[in-house]
Symmetry: C2
């Protein structure tokens, strides 16, 4: 894995925030997955979308196809994910997504992931060892504060050091304690999808 | 029609921007219509959606149902539309939309609407007189410049004076020469819809 080195991070760094829409758990169906391109923490520059299967295995592939087909691809510097699981337990192997796209991947969560709980939940699903491997591939976790010292968020990173990931996450968390691209990806994905 | 009077306009005034997704002209189908809630020209606060028929008559009703069912309804002060026609010639009667929602409606276009051209195009469609009446109900047009003195945009307004409409449009055009809510509604609607 090559690690991109970031020196000074430009305030207008182009980042993609990815989140999924609403869906009924455990019911086989396609779920909207939205990517929003932000210039740093301020301006929305573009929106893209794809669909993934509830509890499926296609999240990483679908995200990488969506990103690489986008006219924004050349400008993007980082992919940010709202956690490493979408549409239930469709786990994104962030190392694989980094390798496929050539872009650093940072997964952000508001709660500290409970690996034991995830491991237990996965046992009820098909190919649980494959899913668990993708979870473990997320690697080390960093506890970070952004706008508010007392509220912590949690990062996994691939293709970028946790120190650089933290810098970018802090810089782009302009409106809440998570990066604006992820806040807006959540609002768009949940506002557009139907149950 | 009651006209809302705006004194000093707060920079965080909640506005809704509405735009439609991509579609194949003249082919009967449903088109995504997206509403984005902005605080003034800066922060996205929410996203809502509905669907309307290509060349149909349901745009005003669908927008008013979408807005009034939204948890943001009580906070909204203005509805902004990207023009008065959506999904082809599904014309929004802005006076009717104002009456149904109780909210001022401002339609913004980058090009000056050519009424003669619209009149002629409508003649190829069913119930053309009804559509034409909705166009005429948009009333007077104002030519306005926002961020750039040399680029003009055009406004129709219902339930608000053109002077107040212009103030709100200027205040919220932070990133381009149209209000940020409309710029983002366009990016979301076109980024999410498929052909």
């Amino acid at each position: 894995m090559t690690r991109k080195s970031f020196g000074v991070i430009k305030p207008e760094i182009r980042v993609l925030g990815v989140d999924d829409g609403v869906f009924i758990p455990h019911v086989e169906s396609l779920v909207l997955l939205v990517g929003v391109v932000f210039r740093g923490g301020y301006w929305l520059d573009g929106v893209m979308h794809t669909e993934i299967l509830v509890d499926g295995f296609d999240a990483a592939d679908k995200i990488s196809s969506m990103v690489m087909a986008s006219p924004h691809y050349e400008q993007l510097r980082v992919i940010m994910l709202n956690g490493i699981t979408f549409a239930g337990f469709n786990v994104v192997d962030i190392k694989a997504l980094n390798a496929a796209t050539g872009l650093p991947v940072v997964a952000v969560t508001r709660e500290k992931p409970d690996l034991q709980l995830i491991h237990r939940a996965l046992k009820h699903l098909s190919r649980s060892e494959e899913r668990w491997k993708a979870v473990l591939n997320a690697g080390e976790i960093a506890e970070v504060s952004t706008r508010n010292e007392s509220e912590k968020i949690y990062l996994h990173a691939a293709g970028i050091s946790l120190v650089d990931a933290e810098k970018i996450v802090r810089l782009t968390s302009t409106r809440s304690n998570i990066p604006e691209a992820l806040r807006v990806a959540h609002l768009v994905a949940s506002g557009i999808s139907d149950l």
